[in-house]
């Protein structure tokens, strides 16, 4: 790496001792690039075996990569921690301004240790670290208000990230998220609850460091930087994929997935939703789209914000307008999965979940299970505190979300621990749609998608994008189980490189191995495309080493029966085939790890 590149600076913050220091860790970044690669090493170093996720010994690691601040779409931050939701590897990615802010503050990674004794937030402005009192912010109902207050109290508008939690994180709901820049999230696996357990309301980061570039001496270096940059930028603004994400954003996928019969509907009792055209990307854009936003250093701008204008219930001519960010996964989890086709109800539910700081996907799947559990008589109206959940009934869902956060009785306390836990108490495990303890994402495209959720290191659709294999291959022809296992693992291993740079997965087509190597050369890293693939495999192995260390086992993975009952675009899933693929994956991942 380039001499003096601030990327090698790891900022350690000890909340218990109110101390902070910086260590130069060239070793870390030279071996594992940055992002996910650096974060998993730090997690191994910092997190003791068997640590309670809510104890002060559970660390929070944020990491960015060598391309952050230098190239477009290298716009993500990776967070790692031990997940309170799965009790195992916690990894979540977010954009906003977080990545550029961390990099230009002069760091490649931030490690947060210990816990606050009273609520506080940490403000990192370049080399300054402040421990601020957040007692006044703690317990505030609306996370938007919290963001507004911190914004006014801190400097560096436009150059900062404000990562904060809502009530859900304070209440230790294990699928609480951390929100940054109002609309981006470290959504999955409960980073918000880890913040909450540390009485850490927010982390503010800002910076203005310039970043060195290599690629040759002096003018030649500058020219080479601009040459590689221009190629990536031009492709980003000209490619049809990027245009799709700019125009309609991820909700563009609602109608095509529904037409295929891969859109999970009413707790995956169906995979086609008759109301899809009312909550499609097209419909929401036409009737509600109010603004589009981008993460810092992303010319695409996939973030879509709806403007919802609502009349006051009592006073005439009194309106409030809310700006609500929507994405495909939210439309799935809080729309089709709940049988909801009323766009305004959907937007209000999204907004409520944003206000509390819950993970939208987990919340939607929990509500879908609860609705079916009531439908089947597993949970009485009494047990639900007089609430009757019904498909598409948004007022009931809005109330249920409030109760999940407030937990007035045992039923909501169970829901607040996730769908797998709730089903272990009330039954209905076959339709409790979680993989590895994490509620499922919105793809019922075939075996590839579900296998990806199951064997992915973070049980996310983004681990290996199995839905893409389903659509490109399995919908047309069967492939042997070992071939599918290889496809899934190959993709997940390459994605370790992208999430170490850290490049947004939407740009994966632009950042080919060769182009990635060229960009890394400008950033001072000499790797061949083959080196990168090897590093990707190493990082994947290190993640699994952590998982095994913390008790993960392929043998005990639970597969919800529902996925074998509802036909997918690639046909009805075959349990035998499914299990054989899992066995193939298991053989390819050494249980011990290095």
């Amino acid at each position: 790496m380039l001499r003096g590149d601030p990327l090698a600076n790891v900022l350690y913050i000890d909340l218990s001792k109110k101390k902070h220091w910086v260590e130069r860790r060239e070793d870390l970044f030279e071996k594992s690039i940055g992002g996910a690669g650096a974060a998993v090493e730090l997690l191994h170093e910092e997190c003791p075996r068997g640590a309670d996720p809510f104890s002060p010994e559970n660390p929070i690691v944020f990491a960015v990569g060598p391309l952050t601040g230098l190239f477009p779409l290298a716009s993500k931050t990776v967070a790692m921690f031990k997940s309170p939701h799965t009790g195992n590897l916690g990894e979540s990615h977010a954009g906003g301004r977080s990545a550029v802010a961390i990099r230009t503050a002069g760091y490649g990674a931030i490690v947060i240790r210990g816990a606050n004794d009273i609520p506080g937030y940490v403000a990192i402005h370049g080399s300054e670290v402040h421990f601020r009192d957040a007692r006044t912010l703690w317990g505030m109902r609306d996370s938007f208000t919290v963001g507004r207050i911190i914004r006014e109290n801190e400097p560096a508008a436009g150059l900062r990230s404000i990562m904060r939690i809502g009530r859900a994180g304070e209440r230790l709901i294990p699928y609480a998220c951390v929100t940054t820049e109002s609309y981006r999230h470290f959504g999955r696996l409960g980073l918000g609850a880890v913040f909450g357990s540390k009485k850490l309301k927010a982390v503010v980061v800002s910076g203005k460091h310039s970043l060195p570039v290599g690629g040759g001496e002096g003018a030649a270096g500058a020219a080479e930087y601009r040459r590689v940059y221009d190629q990536i930028y031009q492709e980003a603004v000209a490619s049809p994929v990027m245009k799709k994400y700019h125009d309609l954003g991820t909700p563009e996928n609602v109608l095509p997935l529904n037409a295929l019969g891969g859109l999970p509907t009413r707790n995956l009792k169906d995979a086609r939703f008759e109301g899809a055209d009312r909550i499609s990307g097209e419909a929401l854009a036409e009737h509600y789209l109010g603004r589009r936003l981008a993460c810092s250093h992303c010319p695409v701008g996939c973030i879509h914000i709806a403007a919802l204008r609502e009349p006051d219930e009592n006073e005439p001519y009194f309106y409030k307008t809310s700006m609500i960010s929507y994405d495909y996964e939210l439309i799935y989890a809080l729309g089709s999965m709940l049988g909801g086709s009323d766009p305004e109800g959907l937007l209000k539910l999204i907004d409520r979940i944003e206000v509390y700081g819950l993970d939208a996907m987990s919340t939607g799947v929990v509500l879908a299970w609860a609705t079916e559990a009531q439908e089947r008589g597993l949970v009485s109206e009494d047990a639900a505190g007089g609430l009757r959940l019904a498909w598409g009934d948004y007022p009931a869902y809005l109330e249920a979300v409030r109760r999940i956060v407030e937990q007035p009785n045992e039923f909501y306390a169970a829901l607040a621990r996730g769908v797998e836990h709730a089903a272990s108490v009330y039954g209905g495990e076959d339709f409790a749609l979680a993989f590895g303890g994490n509620e499922m994402p919105g793809y019922h495209t075939g075996p590839g998608a579900h296998l990806g959720f199951l064997v992915g290191a973070r049980h996310s659709h983004l681990d290996s994008a199995g839905y893409s294999v389903d659509q490109k291959v399995l919908m047309k022809r069967q492939i042997p189980p070992d071939e599918l296992a290889r496809e899934i693992l190959k993709e997940e291993r390459w994605r370790q490189v992208l999430s170490s740079l850290v490049v947004c997965f939407f740009a994966r087509g632009i950042y080919s191995p060769e182009r990635t190597a060229a960009a890394l050369r400008v950033a001072g890293f000499e790797y061949t495309a083959d080196d990168l693939k090897r590093i990707g495999a190493d990082i994947h192995r290190r993640k699994y080493a952590f998982k095994f260390r913390e008790g993960f086992s392929f043998e005990t993975l639970r597969v919800p029966g529902r996925i074998f009952e509802t036909p997918s675009p690639a046909g009805l899933l075959d349990g035998q085939y499914f299990q054989t693929v899992v066995d193939c994956v298991r053989k390819d991942i050494p249980a011990g790890g290095p």
Binding site: V100, F144, A157, S182, L211, P212, E217, G221, A294, P299
Partner: protein, 182 residues
């Protein structure tokens, strides 16, 4: 030429323009940028784009006690960094905050209206307009080298500005000594 903000409502806040401004001189990050994009109170409200308006009668130049800011033909100013004493009056005088500050040199950074940022605005927020008279973008380059801008008459081309910036970059590097980037 004069940089102009066409429509802030089209701005998505990607800050590509800010990175472009810094990159013009071969730098990554945002320390060297003369343009600022920030939300107007949360992302939900949209953005403001802070950029030098190339005032016909620029207050920043009027308050400079040492004459380091020369009024540029066609509006705006150019900085003679050798004269500048880093007092910051120019920054205070600019009510829109378009005089940016270089924390490393302790001196202002002034937009030269080269239009490189507009080239990297994906959504048509920025444009470069022809003013009555023009002057070379090398003024900013002058700032970087501390030698003062080289004046060029007539049509200014971005390519020429970039070429000049490469030269400036080389000069900078040789001044710092070899191997600074090794």
């Amino acid at each position: 030429m004069r940089l102009s903000v066409v429509d802030t409502e089209r701005c998505i806040g990607c800050q590509s323009c800010m990175f472009a401004c810094a990159r013009r001189l071969g730098k990554g990050g945002l320390a060297g940028t003369c343009i600022g994009v920030r939300s107007i109170g949360g992302m939900e409200r949209g953005f403001k784009v802070v950029v030098c308006r190339a005032c016909d009668d620029p207050p920043c130049a009027r308050v400079c006690p040492v004459g380091a800011l020369q009024v540029r033909r066609g509006g705006g100013v150019r900085l003679d960094e050798a004269r500048c004493i880093g007092c910051g009056h120019c920054r205070d005088a600019c009510v829109i905050g378009a005089v940016f500050w270089d924390d490393e040199t302790g001196k202002p950074m002034i937009c030269v209206h080269c239009g490189y940022c507009a080239k990297f605005c994906p959504h048509g927020v920025l444009t470069i307009e022809r003013a009555d008279t023009t002057e070379s973008a090398a003024a900013r380059v002058g700032m970087a080298t501390g030698t003062g801008g080289e004046r060029a008459e007539g049509q200014e081309s971005l390519e020429r500005a970039l070429e000049a910036s490469n030269v400036a970059h080389a000069t900078e590097k040789s001044a710092e000594g070899a191997g600074a980037n090794a």
